[in-house]
Amino acid sequence: MKAFLLRLAAFVLAALVLFCGVLGLSAFAPFSEIFAKLTDSTGYSASASEEIGGHIANVQADDGAAALILGDSVCWQVFDPFSLCNTAYRIDGSNRAVTLAGQYLLAKAFLDAHPGATDVYLIVTPESFSAGFDAGYGYQYAAAPFAAAGLLGGLDETTRAELTAAYGAPFLTGRFARWADASPLVKKLYLNALELVPRQEETGPLTPMAARNLQNLAALCQERGAVFHLLCAPLADTGDRRSTMAALEEAFRAQGLYDSYSAYFTRTPWYDRGLFGEDGIHFDNSVADMDFCAGVVRDIQAATGLLDGLVLSYD
């Protein structure tokens, strides 16, 4: 019986080793696609990494830009139409799942590549301050792309420790991030395993991680001689959004951040709810054409006196 149990254990071990071999093989074409289809993993593509990886490459590009516009998906919706007609501004609105830690890293990458930069704008809706390292989009947007680019070391120690606690040190390496991007099967197994791990997620309108990285971002800009501006992205004028802003303002005051960023609350660009889509966060696509977006940007410029010289036309 002992010999049988030893042989059984050896068999199980061999099967697991071979399975790991399959996982390794699943990162290479054409097996990547075949295994993705056979294991129903096609939904776990590298699109998030490609999206954020694109932003990382953009901000690092040696393009002579002097100012950077970062932000969430609302910022992207409003400002991205003008990304190609601006040379002085680097426009890279992404989305809120990047978290404030990811925005910090994007800004740092920009400032590293543009030593003469003068301004960094962060234009976000209140949700960006509550986004954290969750099991859903957090890893794909806030961790993996930056791990693959070797940028995570730029975060402060506490944020790095939080990332490690949330996702595990072996999975925050560039090698694993690239492997998971190349193999939808590996990404599926990892992300679903994350769901199984009990986690203590930070909640509230302004998480400690967001507050810390906001301060880090401001300090970084100051250190590099650039001015940091925190602006509010356009919001639908509803009771819900007003109360969300009120809660965030209270949190900013409690953290002692209000005075530094009061413009975020006093110059909020409010718009009629009817202009927004079903989610009440983004402008309806049928409304948000280039002329409309230019108008919104002009409104922000007029309210804040910032974003000077931003080109809003391809003429």
């Binding site: 010999a3 059984l8 068999f11 099967a15 697991l16 294991t39 129903d40 197994l189 992300l191 679903n192």
Partner: protein, 472 residues
């Protein structure tokens, strides 16, 4: 806790270790504890009903044995059947009689209720002795490898094996455990590779049949039977294998049904434990084939209608049962004519008959898989209309998946063919496989195990799809 949830291997390993490590006398207690835990994972109500049916039918068995008169014995039999099979069929019939009524799911009831009924009937007829020990009877009813979806056990097969385990006559044999584990691996492969992949496409056809082309609806309808076969045979092999690891041999539930050459033979090969139960406790007590052809036809219709009702309280199951009753009756009526051709035609004749039976069985399963009788007829109408529509690759299942499942089906067919030939030669596929050198066996098993692991990844991130028959 399904057989392929993450928790099951841990639960099973713990149960097996505890079972073989405790003194033989304590093994029944371990099995009962495992059965209770397993059923508790399906909810307190399911566990409570299992406990109630167990206790009441055990008491009826005891009462029957103690009754001094035939009338008293009969009264306990009727009472016992009422709380087991009677309760089951009343539940099944209720939604038909009172539409809109929703019933709480009672996991495993359809299987253990018939098991209890067969025990009582066998005690009544003297085929098996009464089980005086409640613990042993509770193990018979709650034996976790089969409590979810059978095979429906017989007391006369189970208790002697339990006695042999309790007395230490039957020990933990590596060969037995190995065979059990390989059977389980085969069951996982049938379920995770074949059934799940095939049902992904078949379910898409059933969901979008009004937009599918006629050939696709036809293929979907016919392939439903295959997906059901791999699903339920996979489950049954898991149950058989798990029981075997625990030293108990359960009767097989499937014996390559698509190799049958008549519908009668098909039912001797498909869901054998239910077919046998219906034969022994419905068809034969009704008179079977002993009372002339008209009565035989009536008995067949009744038996298969009961089979339909057992599967579910919707009209398509009843229709499916009745359809099989009609087909069986036609088979009985045309038997003299068919006898002239029996054994003729050589291998081509054999395969032609197998193909015909496959088409009949899977044609009837088209209705079984439909969520309503009207959809079943609608699908038949669409097939006959020859309507154009969505192709096989337009249903969200990739060509890679379809190609793989077809390849796996060819492989499964070859294995079934080899098993059929081995059995006809007085051997078994497992014996022939076990006789191969280790250099062949181990790589084959490793490939199978890794394939199962890869396809288990399909379940990650989804609500683990249950076995089809668990719903009954």
């Amino acid at each position: 806790m399904t057989y392929y949830s993450l928790v099951f291997p841990l639960f099973f390993a713990a149960a097996v270790l505890a079972f073989w490590l405790v003194p033989p006398k304590a093994r029944e207690a371990v099995l009962l504890a495992a059965g209770v835990l397993y059923m508790a994972s399906w909810g307190g109500v399911s566990l409570g009903v299992l406990a109630a049916v167990t206790l009441l039918t055990w008491a009826c068995g005891r009462g029957m044995a103690a009754a001094g008169t035939p009338a008293g014995r009969r009264a306990f039999l009727v009472l016992g059947l009422a709380v087991s099979a009677g309760f089951l069929f009343a539940r099944k019939a209720l939604p038909l009689l009172a539409p809109g009524v929703t019933l709480v799911t009672l996991t495993g009831l359809a299987f253990y209720a018939l098991q209890a009924a067969s025990y009582l009937a066998d005690v009544y007829t003297g085929r098996c002795p009464v089980q005086k020990n409640l613990l042993r009877y509770a193990v018979y009813m709650s034996f976790f490898p089969r409590v979810l979806s059978g095979p429906i056990g017989r007391a006369e097969e189970f208790f002697p094996q339990l006695d042999a385990l309790r007395t230490g006559q039957r020990r933990c044999e590596p060969a037995q455990v190995r065979r059990g584990l390989i059977t389980m691996l085969g069951g996982w492969a049938e379920k995770l590779v074949l059934a799940n992949l095939l049902s992904a496409w078949v379910n898409a056809v059933y969901a979008q049949w009004t937009q599918c082309s006629a050939p696709v609806v036809l293929a979907g309808g016919l392939f439903f039977g295959f997906s059901l076969y791999f699903d339920f045979a996979g489950y049954s092999h898991l149950a058989l294998g798990a029981a075997r690891v625990l030293g108990i041999e359960l009767a097989p539930n499937f014996r390559r049904p698509y190799f049958a050459q008549s519908l009668g033979e098909f039912w001797q090969r498909w869901h054998i434990s239910l077919s046998g139960w219906l034969r022994d406790y419905i068809y034969i007590p009704l008179g079977g084939s002993r009372r002339g052809t008209p009565r035989r036809v009536l008995n067949l219709l009744i038996t298969f209608t009961v089979s339909g009702l057992w599967h579910g309280s919707t009209w398509q199951y009843l229709f499916w049962g009745l359809l099989h009753g009609v087909l069986q009756s036609i088979g009985a009526l045309t038997r003299p004519l068919r006898r002239r051709f029996a054994g003729k035609g050589g291998p081509a004749g054999v395969w032609a008959r197998r193909l015909f039976i496959t088409l009949c069985a899977n044609g009837a399963f088209l209705f079984f898989g439909a969520p309503s009788l009207s959809q079943g007829f609608g699908m038949v109408g669409r097939i006959l209309s020859g309507a154009p529509g969505l192709g096989a690759l337009d249903l969200g299942v990739s060509g890679t998946e379809l190609a793989f499942v077809l390849l796996a089906m060819v492989l499964a067919f070859c294995l079934d063919l080899a098993a059929e030939r081995a059995e006809n030669a007085g051997s078994s596929l497992y014996d022939r496989f076990a006789a191969l050198p280790g250099a062949v066996r181990v790589p084959v098993l490793l490939v199978l195990a890794v394939t199962v692991l890869v396809f288990a990844c399909r379940l990650v991130g989804t609500d683990a799809a249950s076995f089809y028959y668990a719903q009954f």
